[in-house]
């Protein structure tokens, strides 16, 4: 049996919202549930794509997973231990083994440091190289992400959006991590740079058994890079399993909607889903997708479907799934 690296056990994360203002309903404090009963396990060497609606809780899930915020309820474990409680050597090991690429690449880099220092910092911190070898290693990393050596002396403000994103990726690779947790790491990159980085990640997967947890909006990227996929909608995982199988025969109507909306050359732009996206603050009873779901029946608005295994490593939260994975 492979050892589990990350475990999210029924994680809930909610935020208290500022109330007040005459326009607002008075009464109890309003809570926004960014994550609601999320279970996810990741073993060493796994590659998991997280896809789903904007605001569905993907970044929040990564923050909980990384111990950057504690769940309101449930537990987040790394190697069997509560990730927010890691101390001493275990904490240091975690920081060394797991690297994160943030969604806001520019915001995650210190604007006062040149690229050389930004990328050298984790190398020095983890004592992976010393002296002039540090600079050589930085040059090697820059080359891997397709940036010329002249980038060394530049500051983030002097770089284009895609260049900044590649610096953030080089920095994550610098600590020679076993796991990369990436939030939209390749979005906003031109397709040839993206292809170069995806090939690099696939090579690291093959060569070092890199574990990948990857948020992306591009289902093509998800299927190229990740064996597993988890589709999120309003704080829940609504479908999960092997990427290829799910994208070939989606079971959840939201997964199908995502596939329908994929851009296609010279086709008219997909008709957006009709209906209301419910507010994560006042969630309706029943399935959260019911208001926009073309397959919804009255029962969908009454019973909240749980994520149930449907065979072949797949699970879906829907009472009328499209394909019963036989």
């Amino acid at each position: 049996m492979t050892a589990l690296l990350f475990e999210l056990l029924d994680v809930e994360k909610s935020y208290e919202l500022r109330g007040g203002g005459a326009a607002f309903r008075p009464g109890p404090k309003r809570r926004l549930r960014a994550l609601d009963g999320v279970r996810l396990t990741v073993a060493r060497g796994d590659s998991v794509a997280l896809v789903g609606e904007s605001g569905s809780g993907k970044s929040t899930l990564l923050r909980v997973l990384m111990g950057l915020t504690s769940p309101t309820d449930g537990r987040a474990l790394y190697g069997g231990q509560d990730v927010t409680q890691l101390k001493g050597e275990r904490r240091a090991a975690f920081q060394r083994e797991v690297a994160m690429v943030y969604q806001d690449a520019r915001g995650s880099l210190n604007p006062r440091l040149p690229v050389l220092d930004l990328i050298a910092e984790p190398i020095r911190h983890h004592k992976l190289r010393a002296g002039p070898a540090v600079r050589d290693r930085v040059l090697e990393l820059l080359d891997q992400v397709g940036l010329p050596a002249a980038t060394l002396k530049r500051y983030p403000s002097q770089l284009s959006g895609g260049q900044v994103r590649r610096v953030a990726i080089a920095r994550a690779l610098a600590s020679e991590p076993l796991t990369i947790v990436a939030d939209e790491a390749v979005s906003g990159l031109d397709v040839s740079t993206q292809a170069q980085l995806l090939n690099l990640l696939v090579e690291l997967q093959r060569r070092m058994g890199l574990t990948l947890i990857f948020i992306t909006h591009d289902l093509g990227v998800a299927s190229f890079l990740c064996d597993q996929i988890a589709v999120m909608y309003l704080g829940r995982i609504v479908e999960t399993g092997p990427t290829r199988a799910i994208l070939e025969r989606p079971a959840h109507p939201y997964t199908q909607a995502l596939l329908n909306a994929q851009p296609r050359f010279f086709a008219p732009i997909a008709q957006p889903l009709q209906g209301e996206i419910p507010s994560p603050i006042d969630l309706p009873p029943g399935c959260r997708f019911a208001g926009r779901c073309p397959r919804a029946v009255p029962a969908c608005r009454e019973d909240d479907p749980a994520l149930m295994p449907s065979g072949q490593g797949r699970a879906v939260a829907c009472i009328r799934p499209l394909t019963a994975a036989a």
């Binding site: 959006g161 906003g188 031109d190 292809a195 994208l247 994929q262 050359f265 086709a267």
Partner: protein, 326 residues
């Protein structure tokens, strides 16, 4: 005028909204944009596509008058509605920016001030530029948030930027840019942080506005399929030069430039098993090749390519800068 008049007839009678003629730009004496020429007729959309660092955002910022600083030099002509932008003074810029020209910036998270609420960000330009009262501005702000698909808009007006997901921040930026109903909207990667269903909704929203108000939009897009769906015209940039330009169905459907062809081969689809990006990386600003800037990476490059810069030749419908077009 009859309503049935074809769009080409409209083009012939009215001058283009944007006209670049041999437009060049230098930062610290390093060439960033080199001899760009393209036109955008009123009521059409144009996509700038191409390698990271090619100068796409720089074009947008120059058209918004946000590069009028020391260290930046411009030459050639850039006209907006017949008015030359290169020689425009600060006063005249203030009349255009925000009112007739709007921009959605690439790094949405960084463009929002963390100290102000979303409501403030939206209402401020409405009050200052359109002279709305504070109540009117709040009402408009609410409507704008709803139009970009943000649920629970009322509560979100009181939120600070960090309380919104990345995609929501991006949609707020879109709302701000649309607020003053500009004649030209520059949308720099407007949907790169959005899931495909919301992306389709936003692109349709922008398209509808373009049709209804006879406005135009310059998109910076990396998704070539989306570019083919959203835009009539495409400009392919590499290292600050136009490689290929013209009608979308020609440039993306029957590409003849080796760079455009390389880009297309990097498009990732659900069943993509291998990616072969062009070898090497884009040149750095300090070391621009003297002939065709793509020559060091081009499979068709000859001696002439490295010696002589190929001119941009062809018709409005299809222009190519290449000595050996395919």
């Amino acid at each position: 005028m009859s309503l049935q008049m074809s769009s080409s007839a409209v083009q012939a009678t009215s001058r283009p909204l944007v006209e670049l003629e041999d437009f060049s730009l230098w930062r610290q004496n390093r060439s960033v944009l080199d001899g760009l020429s393209f036109t955008l007729p009123k009521g059409q959309n144009l996509a700038l596509v191409g390698e990271s660092g090619a100068g796409k955002s720089t074009i947008g910022l120059a058209l918004m008058g946000l590069l009028q600083s020391q260290g930046v030099k411009m030459a050639g002509r850039a006209r907006f509605d017949g008015q030359d932008l290169v020689s425009l003074n600060a006063r005249a810029w203030n009349g255009l920016r925000g009112r007739r020209l709007g921009m959605i910036f690439q790094d949405a998270g960084a463009a929002l001030d963390p100290c102000f609420t979303i409501g403030h960000h939206l209402a401020f330009p409405l009050r200052r530029l359109l002279g709305l009262s504070s109540r009117q501005a709040t009402e408009r702000a609410l409507a704008l948030l709803e139009s970009v698909g943000i649920n629970d808009a009322k509560a979100r007006l009181k939120a600070y930027p960090h309380e919104l997901s990345g995609g929501m921040q991006q949609r707020v930026m879109i709302g701000i840019a649309l607020a003053c109903e500009p004649d030209l909207l520059i949308a720099d990667e407007p949907t790169s942080a959005l899931d495909v269903t919301i992306q389709a909704q936003i692109v349709r929203l922008i398209q509808d506005r373009v049709r209804m108000q006879g406005a135009s939009c310059i998109f910076v897009l990396h998704d070539l399929a989306l570019a083919s769906q959203a835009c009539e015209r495409i400009v392919v940039l590499y290292a600050g030069q136009v490689m290929e330009a013209g009608l979308a169905e020609v440039v993306l459907g029957r590409s003849r430039h080796p760079y455009t062809q390389a880009l297309k081969s990097c498009v990732i689809e659900l069943d993509t098993a291998a990616l072969e990006p062009p070898p090497g990386a884009a040149p750095s600003l300090d070391r621009m090749p003297s002939g065709c800037r793509f020559a060091p990476r081009c499979p068709r490059a000859s001696e002439r390519c490295t010696a002589e810069k190929p001119p941009l030749q062809g018709t409005e419908a299809h222009q190519i800068a290449c000595w050996h077009p395919g």
